[in-house]
């Protein structure tokens, strides 16, 4: 009974936030857009926050999250940045289109989209919906939402990155999307909603990074939808580098059509609690879906990676590789599900999850699942958990290499499997730097 009460009061708290958010919308509250928000909030209230009794949240406890009261980004004073302030957060060395979001709100001043061709849209969701309101239906598939936290994002959606690539168009330069999150004093609730639509025979590379500019607690509640039409090629990089007080929950929905190829790279470094959820649905034949992941945890970080690949049609290939290093008291979770439906014959699905524990108090919970209903398939999954190889260590030491350096060499060897799959050459070294910087090890 008490538990129900606690839950109710929690929902009420968020309902209060939602009312304030509505009040601040300035007449927009009659719009179609807002109706979908209200609908999403209804779904959220019905579902409530997941508890550890929910199988999908078995290893991730939100108790610490519930201790905080968050204020939505729309209600706080805008944080002002100068162009030079954002330099250090950017990935450099290659030409790119730049979109910058400050606490989830598009900043035209800081962004630098540059020249784009006809019908290509790179900008903010707000602007896109003004131009093409009919896309709204594409944005909210609210009703079938089963995740409360995604519904919460939908309810509070204001803005996000929107990238629309028309048929037969390849965008050569990667699109860099930079999120600058946090404020000096407020615990802010940030709700970016990103939309990536790649038309037939199109191609696009997107590089998003989530960064903190303050050390304060905040809550990033992001959703990204990727639609890859026939023969489209999408590379999606996500670098999550929030501060270690932040909460980060991000759901990526990938919908793929015939012969499309989507690669997702999820590199998770920051946050006190991070949950990266990827749901890939393969809607037609001959699809390639690659999910790569790297998670590095230290101190008291909790990093949860959830992936689900739904093979609904024949002749598709999926490949998943997630690697993690956990130090100090860090807790890692990996839950990867591969569903092969009855019609999905000739499916190739590979999944691998490898974790290294560097300290006695670090822990990992791994759950690689296969659910297979078709007989002519090749599916496998593997999971290994271990520590740095003592024999390799000994070998290196006998060659006169100091322990610290030998450690770094082994770590480098371990993470390189994922880092080397990155297709933007200039990015590799910069990611490598973040890895060693985050783990406080000698960089090699």
């Amino acid at each position: 009974m008490n538990k129900d009460k606690a839950e109710k009061s929690m929902i009420n708290k968020w309902a209060e936030n939602f009312r304030k958010f509505e009040a601040g919308l300035n007449g927009e509250s009659k719009s179609e857009f807002h109706k979908s928000r209200q609908n999403a909030f209804k779904i959220f209230s019905k579902l409530g926050f997941p508890s550890i009794k929910n199988e999908e949240w078995k290893y991730t406890n939100l108790a610490k999250f519930h201790k905080h009261e968050f204020v939505h980004a729309s209600e706080i004073e805008e944080v002002k940045y100068k162009k030079e302030d954002i330099e250090k957060y950017l990935f450099k060395g290659f030409d790119h289109h730049l979109l910058v979001f400050v606490n989830g709100k598009y900043s035209e001043k800081l962004s630098c989209v540059g020249e784009t061709e006809n019908n290509v849209f790179i900008g903010s969701l707000c602007d896109l919906l003004k131009e093409k309101p009919e896309l709204l239906d594409n944005v909210y598939k609210g009703e079938n939402n089963t995740s409360a936290i995604t519904a919460l994002n939908n309810a509070f959606t204001q803005d996000g990155a929107a990238i629309i690539v028309p048929d037969n168009k390849v965008i050569e330069k990667p699109v860099q999307v930079l999120y600058l999150n946090g404020t000096q004093n407020e615990k802010v609730h940030i709700t970016p909603y990103n939309l990536i639509i790649a038309g037939k025979n199109s191609g696009v590379k997107i590089l998003t990074s989530y960064n903190s500019t303050f050390e304060n607690v905040y809550f990033t509640n992001a959703v990204t939808n990727i639609n890859a039409d026939e023969n489209a090629h999408v590379d999606y990089y996500k670098i999550q580098n929030e501060n270690e007080n932040a909460f980060h929950v991000h759901q990526v929905n990938i919908e793929q059509q015939k012969s499309s190829n989507v690669s997702s790279y999820s590199l998770s470094f920051g946050s006190q609690l991070a949950r990266n959820e990827i749901i890939a649905t393969l809607n037609d034949e001959d699809i390639d879906c690659n999910l790569f992941g790297l998670y590095l945890g230290k101190d008291n970080q909790h990093i949860d990676n959830h992936t689900m690949i739904d093979h609904a049609n024949p002749n598709c290939r999926s490949n998943e590789l997630y690697k993690g290093i956990l130090d100090d008291n860090a807790h890692g979770v990996f839950s990867g599900k591969v569903l092969v439906r009855q019609d999905a014959q000739k499916t190739d699905a590979y999944q691998s999850n490898k974790t290294i524990l560097l300290s006695d108090t670090a822990s990992i919970d791994t759950k690689p699942q296969l659910e297979i209903f078709a007989d002519d398939v090749k599916c496998s999954h593997g999971a290994t958990i271990g520590h740095l190889d003592e024999e390799a260590m000994f070998y290196l030491k006998t060659r006169g290499i100091p322990t610290e350096l030998a450690n770094s060499m082994l770590i480098r060897g371990f993470v390189d499997d994922v880092v080397q799959t990155i297709k933007i050459e200039e990015l590799k070294d910069q990611i490598n730097h973040i890895i060693f910087d985050h783990l406080h090890k000698i960089e090699i």
């Binding site: 300290s359 791994t366 690689p368 296969l370 659910e371 297979i372 007989d375 599916c379 496998s380 958990i385």
Partner: protein
């Protein structure tokens, strides 16, 4: 029709070969379950007062519990009041030789393929046959007694060695452990009790055959095996049930206690009635099996071949508490028609340098669903522990499903854990290769499946390995016309 489809179709058509009903008068409790039922069973078995209380405690807890919903199986709700909880053959024989046993009963055993006499002479297997809940005859009792080994039914053990039973019963699976374990604790009718004293190596393989015979009686046995320091025992369990329309519930509990330097090898061949081709009838097999390696250097090994039951739901677990202890799990689970299996193991590493191995082979055919669900947990103090898991699935036909749900929870950095799983089908190229060597498709499929299961079969005791292979062969026979 492709050869594969034929295999599947013919598989679906083969009948249950163990379906027959033995006509022996039995004493049966009317349907229903309440405290009186529990008291009745306890009284019927002349149990001591503490045992009755122990059962009642379990029953009261059970009433508060909810049926678990998490397994990947579907079945209509069980009406626990619609089951009779006790059935015993009326003539309760107290016999010294086999001659005195009811000949009809002996004939049943004959059909079951347990020639008591022959086994006695040739294979040296001591059988404690559980026939519809009451232990009928314990063979080789005397010979074992000389070594100090206790091998009897649990109700006898309650009379002759109450202190041992009291000490260990429920120590591995507490009577309130889970819904079906609690139900079992409340109403279990009988089962086997084995105690191997210090330093004794049991000279023969011990064996129990379970058989559910009466209409609509649930079988609730309880097995308790204690291996004291430095001892060894290999225990076999085999099960069949006659063909019945109604689903029968089977909720057993098996507890193994292994002391320092001791080893238990526990093998199961389960071929209960799986229901007919339409998925009607069959046994619900909801079992709790758990072993605890209490002392250092102890070892437990579970081997199972599961081909029967409409629904199999069991996870033999190993708690590796002692340092250097070893847990092993080898399993072949074959599902056909509408059978559902949700099975696997739990390896809980608590002691230092503990090792575990999991080899699970699932084969699904027809419209069946086969799931592997397992947990590997490495505790904070389990330094240098090691686990290797391999769970493979094979699919025959496109209407069945194979699923794996492994859970891996690691709290110690010195642990090394490996898990791999693959799903495949009988390869067309493999069949083609064997065909062109003059081997018929039926034999080829047989050979491939045998090869696939070999890793598990080689861990079965000899007599069982032969039986298990025959079982699989029968399931696969007539696969090519």
């Amino acid at each position: 029709m492709s050869d594969d489809m034929k295999v599947v179709n013919d598989l679906t058509e083969s009948d249950y070969k163990w379906g027959f009903v033995t006509d022996i008068e039995s004493e049966k409790l009317p349907k229903g379950l309440n405290e009186d039922t529990v008291r009745f069973i306890s009284k019927k078995k002349n149990e001591p007062e503490w045992m009755t209380e122990w059962r009642l405690k379990a029953f009261r807890k059970w009433q508060e519990m909810e049926e678990p919903k998490w397994p990947n199986v579907k079945y209509p709700k069980i009406d626990f009041q619609d089951i009779s909880y006790y059935s015993a053959p009326k003539q309760k024989p107290k016999l010294d030789s086999l001659d005195e046993v009811d000949p009809e009963l002996l004939a049943t055993f004959e059909k079951l393929g347990i020639p008591l006499e022959e086994q006695k002479k040739l294979s040296g297997v001591a059988v404690d046959a559980v026939f519809d809940s009451v232990s009928v005859k314990t063979t080789f009792h005397d010979e074992l007694e000389k070594k100090g080994i206790i091998f009897c039914s649990i109700s006898d053990a309650l009379k002759t060695h109450p202190e041992l039973v009291k000490k260990y019963l429920g120590s591995v699976v507490p009577q309130t452990d889970n819904f079906y374990a609690a139900l079992n604790a409340a109403v279990f009718s009988d089962g086997s009790f084995v105690y191997i004293p210090k330093g004794v190596r049991c000279p023969m393989e011990l064996s129990t055959y379970f058989r559910i015979n009466d209409m609509e009686t649930g079988q609730f046995e309880r097995t308790l095996i204690v291996a004291d320091e430095g001892s060894y025992v290999s225990y076999l369990e085999g099960c069949t049930a006659p063909q019945r329309d109604k689903n029968q519930l089977h909720a057993a509990v098996v507890e193994l206690v292994i002391m320092k330097d001791a080893e238990i090898k526990y093998s199961t061949v389960q071929n209960w009635y799986p229901g007919d081709k339409e998925g009607k009838g069959g046994i619900y097999n909801f079992v709790t099996k758990r072993a605890i390696c209490k002392g250092d250097n102890s070892k437990v090994s579970w081997t199972q071949v599961e081909t029967g039951s409409a629904i199999t739901w069991k996870y033999p677990a190993c708690i590796l508490k002692g340092d250097n202890s070893i847990g092993e799990f080898f399993s072949v689970a074959l599902t056909n028609n509408y059978q559902q299996a949700d099975t696997g193991t739990k390896m809980i590493h608590l002691g230092k340098n503990t090792k575990s191995t999991i080899i699970s082979k699932g084969i699904s055919a027809g419209k069946s669903q086969n799931s592997y669900r397992g947990l590997v947990k490495i505790g904070k103090n389990a330094e240098n522990s090691r686990n290797f898991s391999q769970c493979d699935s094979m699919l025959m036909g496109d209407k069945c499903g194979a699923h794996t749900f492994p859970y891996i929870e690691i709290d110690n950095k010195s642990a090394t854990v490996e898990h791999e799983a693959t799903t495949s089908k009988v390869g067309e190229d493999q069949i083609f290769y064997l065909n062109q060597r003059g081997i018929s498709t039926e034999d080829a499929v047989n050979m491939i499946v045998m090869g696939y299961c070999k890793e598990v079969f080689k861990n079965l005791p000899m007599e069982f390995a032969v039986e298990a292979q025959k079982l699989l062969a029968i399931s696969l026979e007539n696969s090519v016309g």
